[in-house]
């Protein structure tokens, strides 16, 4: 398929869109911000016969608080997230992660739904969504299902999403009074870079440095985002002193299974899982104490 032969259709409503992708005769793909789709098209990897351009579907671009959860429309851009005072207050870890996506130009057009749908193991918003207990609403023309984000990905670039299905809502659990979170990224440079390793941390604090429970999710060190469950359980054993932070961080090394690629070796990625966790916990404790 040549690029010039690809059609672009622009549905006016979500319903119209779901009808279009339900058509089994049409080889369709969704395009929103295009920050991944256009690159893949250029590389010859994604050449559907029809792009379904959903960029203008206003009804899928929102950030609202509802029944104790925060609902984020899949067409919400990274910039929308960064600027949202609600998310800044109650899900800051996602705001921090969105700030690390590409550069400002990409944040302006790239969408959170796209970041999830692309299913890159290095996707920057994903670890943050993991530690916020995110569930996704997936819709077809006739049905809806709710899936926890941890069950959504099946491998690098692969998800459980069916051809006639799309992400229509992203529901995150906001942080409560004593919950704090942080996102840490290591890339080959500070902006415009793909993560070598990234990590999101969310802690429920008791008092001082005692952790009641915690969630840690790593990106770029396994086929999908992974939770560091051993580290999470050790977190609660003793108050998180600087020494304790180092001990927890060391364990991270055992919880990841990275590969070597052009950006870094597996060994370095392993070391960095520990380093980023140490750096993140250290910074988080400073924040907690200054709160």
């Amino acid at each position: 398929m040549l690029v010039s032969e690809i059609e672009v259709v622009t549905p006016a409503t979500l319903k119209e869109c779901l009808t279009m992708i339900a058509n089994e005769d049409m080889n369709t793909r969704l395009i929103a911000g295009g920050t991944d789709a256009v690159v893949r098209m250029k590389e010859g990897k994604w050449r559907p016969s029809t792009w379904v351009n959903i960029k203008g579907l206003r009804e899928l671009r929102y950030i609202i608080e509802k029944d104790g959860a925060i609902h984020i429309g899949p067409l919400t851009t990274h910039t929308d997230i960064i600027k949202s005072s609600l998310l800044q207050k109650k899900a800051n870890v996602l705001v921090e992660a969105s700030r690390e996506v590409g550069a400002i130009q990409m944040q302006n057009v790239g969408t959170i739904g796209g970041n999830i749908g692309t299913a890159s193991p290095a996707g920057d918003t994903l670890p943050a969504l993991y530690v916020l207990n995110t569930v996704l609403e997936l819709s077809t023309r006739n049905s809806k299902r709710i899936v926890p984000i941890e069950e959504f990905f099946t491998g690098p670039g692969r998800t459980i999403l069916k051809k006639n299905e799309m992400i229509t809502n992203i529901i995150v659990q906001p942080h409560g009074e004593n919950e704090i979170g942080i996102f840490q990224k290591l890339g080959p440079r500070k902006a415009q870079s793909i993560s070598i390793v990234n990590v999101a941390i969310s802690l429920l604090m008791e008092k001082d440095r005692q952790v009641l429970s915690g969630k840690i999710a790593f990106g770029s060190v396994a086929p999908t985002i992974i939770r560091a469950k051993k580290c999470e359980s050790i977190l609660t054993l003793h108050p998180l002193t600087d020494e304790m932070i180092q001990n927890v961080a060391k364990v991270a090394w055992k919880e990841v299974m990275p590969i070597t690629d052009v950006r870094a070796t597996a060994e370095y990625r392993r070391d960095m899982a520990s380093s980023l966790l140490e750096r993140g916990l250290y910074r988080l404790m400073r924040r907690w104490e200054n709160k």
Binding site: L2, L186, A191, S193, I196, V262, Y268, D271, M272, R279
Partner: protein, 773 residues
């Protein structure tokens, strides 16, 4: 050397030495300027190049029939369609225009396609069937030099071998109190210009060919095109400016010959080629990766007494300027110091790793890191100050360099070191270093100094030329062959012209890089274009003043001696003549409105035996001071501050110098910390800017520029000399030393990526544990 009549004192200068706004600034900043690759015409056809599928293979056959049948294909050309010599290369034309029997890298071109659209041209490339027989790939320069390696060219894999010997190093090493010895590896840096290689070309009904293609020497490009086309060069026009960046990467032929060949087969329709970033990564020229082994000896008091260097440069599949790069590297391998005993040797070696050629710094970057690191190591072992050891060993004007020749031109190193020593960052470094924000971060401050030859060196003719024409609107058209590749030479030329003509700078128009409108004045390379082109303008301008004066005298019927050259006009006894009137008079009398200026660069008379062109007569000097912060948890390094102290002679435009100093510093940061085009088994692992990491504004620190100006170069325009390359050199060694200063880990293999630094820190920890047992 004849003294110029431009020795006005500082106060009387109107334009030179002033912060003059760039004349090409507004249209570049607003985007109004169209690069040649931006242009499109309705009847234009698209050209594409079929590149080799393998890094080393025999071509058994090329079948183009299926591609020719594709609707929309205008023509498909192979080596059989080259009317003239099938090769190009600035020094030796060893690179085929279109390969006929062997491919030596994946950047090699095999066929050219012209088609109605870019997509059709791409599709046509897919339909061309080339049968290959694979050959063993030569991936390592050291191995390429051994007898068992496949020979890539008839004369073997060693393209050039340079050697400089002075004194007796063996004895000196016995006498020495300290010897340091290390091996340094440097990366394959990409020029990463904003405008990838490309352009367009058209042949008119009379067979006159015009090629619009960014380059660094239109007149030489034309000769290379003419040779391949077997065509009268007078029937070819090359327009090579404006340019979206070059840095040496457009010094060699890029696509000019392809464009000319295609234009001969498109029935007078313009044809355009514009490489994608991916194709530019594969086919474009890169900086030579070097392996440099260095052994340096000193006495107890810090006097350097010997240096031994063996440098091996990987030039890839073709020579381009590789021979000259290794020669310049060896010439500069001892730094701006006087080391009495040296034994220096360099090899430029063919492999199947792309193609390397000219790049800002031209080999000096790769050796500077060696000698400067050694200076610091020696100073540390002697517990000596880092500035002191350099001051002690630098040569001054009139002294004998490490190469054994007397340096006759101006030398600013000592002054730059004095300034470095007294700058805020160096003086207060302890305080700055202690101001880390988090406990695992470590800061370091270091300095390094280097130099860079200006012009071509011995053995290559080196000249400048400029013309000035008075136009009907009373403006002056200054024409210089040297292109504006972004460095700001156009503004410098305008300043020099305005200064001598005594007119407003808005009265000067500058045209560059056009074989029909500019004289051959050499390349925009070798840190030479401000110096050479500026001097040529300064030579032409007095001729224009003379023309104006004589014409005004005729007009007013007074002797020329009565004519006064006033700002923007001429005057005799209260009667004013403006430039338009002079033009009118010349025009009506069918007289020439144009003057020329020519000049030959000063050279050394005696070449150092075996050196391949050393020494240069002129050098620019520069010292860098940097502060870095290393995150020891990850190995990430931030350059926080840079002080750049150039000796550029008289500064023509302080703003332009700062632009060069800042751009050079950032390019040096990229080279040291991030950039490398990775090639494995002859195939590029780095494909585009996703994985080729260049610094962004977030990696750009505070950069201060403090020029040393009390060493004007007499032969230059108003005392100026070149600075375009050395601005990126010492910073490389300075960052490496600052990382050491911060962490105790030395990096010998660039780029110093977080992973390399982290591993060095890990290694250091292991050693410390071991030694404390």
């Amino acid at each position: 050397m004849k003294q110029l009549n431009t020795t006005k004192n500082e106060q009387s200068l109107n334009w030179v030495g002033k912060r003059v706004k760039r004349i090409d600034g507004p249209e570049k900043v607003t985007g109004e300027l169209k690069y040649m690759t931006d242009l499109h015409f309705d009847n234009m056809v698209w050209g594409k190049v079929l590149r080799a599928k393998y890094p080393h293979a025999k071509i058994k056959s090329i079948h183009t029939l299926n591609a020719e049948k594709l609707p929309g294909v205008v023509c498909i050309l192979t080596h059989k369609d080259i009317p003239g010599f099938n090769g190009f290369g600035i020094v030796i034309p060893d690179q085929p225009v279109l390969c006929s029997n062997i491919v030596r890298c994946t950047g090699d071109a095999i066929c050219l396609v012209a088609a109605e659209s870019e997509e059709i041209a791409e599709r046509a490339l897919e339909l061309i069937d080339v049968e290959y027989e694979l050959l063993e790939v030569v991936t390592d320069a050291e191995k390429a030099m051994t007898a068992s390696a496949p020979q890539l060219h008839p004369d073997g894999n060693i393209h050039s071998h340079v050697k400089i010997k002075n004194g007796n190093t063996e004895e000196a090493f016995i006498e020495a109190n300290i010897i340091v010895e290390n091996t340094f590896y440097s990366p394959r840096q990409m020029h990463a210009f904003i405008e990838t290689e490309g352009g367009w070309s058209v042949m008119d009904a009379d067979g006159f060919i015009t090629i619009h293609c960014p380059g660094q020497y239109a007149h030489r490009d034309r000769m290379q095109i003419a040779r391949a086309l077997a065509y009268n060069p007078e029937r070819i026009r090359v327009i090579s400016s404006p340019i979206g960046g070059a840095f040496g990467g457009k010094d060699e032929i890029t696509v000019q010959i392809y464009l000319a060949l295609l234009a001969m087969h498109t029935n007078g329709r313009p044809v355009k080629i514009h490489l994608s970033r991916e194709e530019s990564v594969i086919a474009g020229i890169k900086r030579h990766p070097f392996k440099v082994h260095m052994k340096t000896a000193a006495k107890k008091d810090g006097t350097l007494i010997a240096n031994e260097v063996r440098a091996v440069a990987d030039t890839g599949a073709y020579a381009s300027l590789g021979g000259a790069v290794i020669a310049l590297a060896i010439e500069h391998s001892c730094g701006p110091y006087k080391i009495p005993n040296v034994n220096l040797e360099g090899f430029c070696v063919y492999t199947n790793n792309g193609i390397s050629g000219a790049f800002r710094g031209f080999g000096v970057n790769q050796v500077c890191m060696g000698i400067e690191t050694h200076l610091d190591m020696i100073a540390e072992r002697l517990n000596m100050d880092k500035v002191e050891i350099r001051k002690k060993n630098v040569y001054h004007q009139g002294e004998i360099s490490s190469l054994g020749h007397i340096v006759k031109s101006s030398v600013g190193t000592f002054k730059t070191l004095e300034l470095a020593e007294n700058c805020d960052l160096w003086k207060n470094r302890r305080q700055y270093k202690s101001a880390v924000s988090e406990p695992w971060k470590k800061r370091g401050v270091a300095l390094a100094t280097s130099f860079h030859g200006i012009g071509m060196g011995i053995g290559l003719p080196d000249y400048g030329a400029a013309s000035i024409e008075i136009l009907s609107d009373g403006k002056f058209l200054v024409a210089v062959g040297c292109e504006e590749i972004g460095g700001g030479n156009s503004t410098a030329y305008a300043q020099v012209a305005a200064e001598i003509l005594n007119c407003d700078i808005n009265n000067i128009k500058v045209v560059q890089g056009d074989t029909s409108r500019t004289l051959d004045g050499g390349t925009v390379t070798a840190s030479r274009s401000t110096y050479t082109g500026g001097r040529a303008v300064a030579t032409a301008a007095p001729n224009m003043v003379k023309l104006l004066t004589n014409t005004a005298a005729e007009l007013l019927n007074v002797p020329p001696s009565k004519i006064e050259v006033l700002p923007n006009c001429l005057n005799a006894n209260g009667k004013v003549v403006n430039y338009q009137t002079i033009y009118q008079y010349l025009f009506e009398h069918h007289r020439s409105t144009r003057v020329e200026g020519h000049f030959i660069l000063p050279k050394e008379k005696v070449e150092i035996e075996g050196s391949g062109g050393a020494p240069h007569h002129l050098y620019g000097y520069l010292t860098h001071v940097v502060m870095v912060e290393v995150d020891t948890l990850t190995g990430e390094t931030d350059v926080l501050r840079v002080v750049s102290i150039p000796d550029a002679g008289k500064v023509i435009n302080p703003q332009g110098l700062e632009g060069q100093a800042e751009g050079g510093a950032v390019m040096g940061i990229g080279y040291t910390l991030y950039e490398d085009v990775v090639i494995e088994n002859g195939f590029h692992k780095t494909r585009n800017f996703t994985d080729y990491i260049i610094p962004t504004i977030r990696e750009t620190p505070l950069i201060e520029t403090f020029p040393v100006e009390d060493t004007p170069e007499e032969s230059g325009p108003f005392g100026a000399k070149g600075i375009g390359e050395v601005v990126m050199i010492p910073i490389i060694a300075a960052i490496m030393s600052a990382i050491y200063d911060a962490t105790g880990a030395r990096i010998y293999h660039l780029p110093a990526t977080p992973e390399r630094i982290f591993n060095a820190l890990k290694e250091l920890k292991k050693q410390n544990v071991y030694s404390s047992r």
